[in-house]
Amino acid sequence: MFRKVTNGFKKLFLSFFRFDESKDSQRYYQILRLKMIILMLMVTIIPLSLMYLISYHEYKQAIKEQAVHPQQVMLNKTKHSFELFLTERLSAVSFIASAYPFEELTDQKTLNRVFQVMKREFGGFVDLGLIDSTGVQISYVGPYSLIGKSYKDQDWFHEVSIRGTYISDVFMGYRKYPHFVIAVQQMKPTGETWVVRATIDTDKFNSLIWSMGLEPRSDAFVLNKAGILQTPSKFYGDVFERFPFVISPVSYEPNVIETLDQKNEKIFLGYTNFNSMPFILVLIKPSACVMRPWETLNTELFFLFVFSIFIIVLVVFKITGVLVKQIEELEHRKGQAFREIEHTNKLASIGRLAAGVAHEINNPMAIIDQKAGLMTDLIERTKDFPQQKKFIGLAHSILNSVDRCRTITHRLLGFARRMDVQFSLLDLNEVIREVLGLLGQEASHRNIDIQLNLAEDLPNIFSDQGQLQQVFLNILNNGLSAVGKEGVITITSREYDLKSVEISIQDNGSGMSKETMKHIFEPFFTTKKDYGTGLGLSITYGIVKKLGGDIQVESEEGKGTKFTVILAKQVTQGGEL
């Protein structure tokens, strides 16, 4: 199972690096770039996001703990104050029950005196009464007349019978004021029980809560175990109302939980149950207040995160753009180099083929030439005979045809130039003028305007005159056949840079299509169907390359063509075509 999953991932991962498209297509590079972007974004943004999430939770937890701790401390402190208060009152009642025998307390006067002392010493006491074992009120000091009332069936009486002491919930009593009751059971020497019962008002509860010094949006109050408010709350109702949330679990240590209030706002609800008393102290703080430092930090974290992602995306896009462009350029150059090698190889094999053909043809041609030459020699040396002129004419036309063949084989070989390869210092302007001298007649015959725009300070270059003549001859021939009558050919020479010079030959002729432009330097490619060998520009290209130069062509159909030849001032290579 595990292996299956890993294999699946492996396949997915590898498919990411596979490219089905042809390398030339623009789409290939778009997909390559897209994949690089996705990969780079994945390896940067995933860890960054993880880090962001981890720090988010870590910081949040830490700040929460820091915020919750004071709440716990305050809860604990206040709980102790409450317990102290209640324990004191309980002790006071217990003390009365223990210090005075039942009989003495049945005396209304004694009870009254004791009540007055308690009221003075402890405060908060509202009434005091004595109840015998049957639950009947024996004596009473306070605002009601309760003597003779039976508590036999009341819950509190049962509870005090069982547990010895009892503290009641708060209830609305005398003068519509919240109170609670403390009762203590005592046993006579006879074994009969009796109970001292005191009522205390809750003023002290309120003052204890005030003393917590709460912020305006915080709230604190006391609940009984049934969830009824024992002291008034700022936000959750008055005394005796039900607190809207259930508080659990029971905890005698301060416990803080995060929850939502009735307005759906986040709050920290802290509570603690009183030890051995039926109350719960609750302290509520709004989360917004507690977590303010966290909000600030979180905002900063978030902005840092977003900013980092922005920078990453920016850099990734820039880098992939540059990288893919470079790859594209390299591929392009590689392709170009391959094409050039192919081209050179083609030229080389054609050169070998042409040399072989030329040799085979030139030898019989030389024989024809000599035979016809001998014929003319003999005819010229003989006395006049019938049709002598015609014979001479015939022999001459054979010789002319041989001449034409010679021209063709020489051109085929790129041999129309001088035989010896010689490198020398050349004035390119002079070379161009010489070539024009060869072509000038044709140009003027067809009314073609050849404009010279030659830089007079053009530096001399070290190159081969014959081969350069061939180059310019070929290009100019092309130009002459491209322009119609009254066409214009402009020849410009200038220094290209420190190491090279540039000659451009521009015509306003028919121009050529993009398709033609792709092939013009290929051997045997010709548009002159009847009389072109398709070798002229191919040889030109070979010569220029061999001389360490470059040739470029720009053309637009109907507007003309511009050939630009760039030649190095110094050539280290030499040789033959």
Binding site: A354, A355, A358, N362, N363, D369, Q370, L374, D420, E576
Partner: protein, 127 residues
């Protein structure tokens, strides 16, 4: 007019005999050979003033013949004549001491002017 003696060496018999005949018509004494080995023997016996030599020949190569001539008769100028379309052999021949290098088919007037150059005879004295 001083009689020139030229030895033409070329494996094409038709070519070399016709050329010789034409030179004879112009008063130049032309001997012919179609084989390198025999040509070398002929040079010894007939002592031509100048040699016209084809490079591409079966058997003994033109350049080998040239080397032998330059060794045994360094004073005899040799004009190379070839139908081959590369310059490298021409350049090689020039380096080995050939007087000049010509390409077939060659015009007879050009050949004669080259011969006179080789024999250091001004053109105006030729006729």
């Amino acid at each position: 007019m001083k009689q020139w003696k030229v030895l033409l060496i070329d494996d094409e018999d038709e070519f070399v005999t016709t050329l010789a005949e034409r030179l004879e018509l112009r008063g130049i004494h032309a001997l012919t050979e179609t084989d390198g080995q025999e040509a070398l023997a002929r040079i010894k016996t007939d002592k031509p003033q100048v040699v016209v030599l084809d490079i591409m020949m079966p058997g003994v190569n033109g350049l080998d013949v040239l080397r032998h001539i330059k060794r045994s008769h360094p004073g005899i100028p040799v004009i190379l004549l070839t139908g081959r379309g590369t310059t490298s052999e021409g350049v090689e021949g020039m380096r080995m001491g050939a007087f000049d290098f010509m390409m077939k088919p060659v015009k007879i007037e050009d050949l004669i002017s080259k011969l006179s150059d080789a024999l250091e005879i001004p053109k105006n004295q030729k006729k």
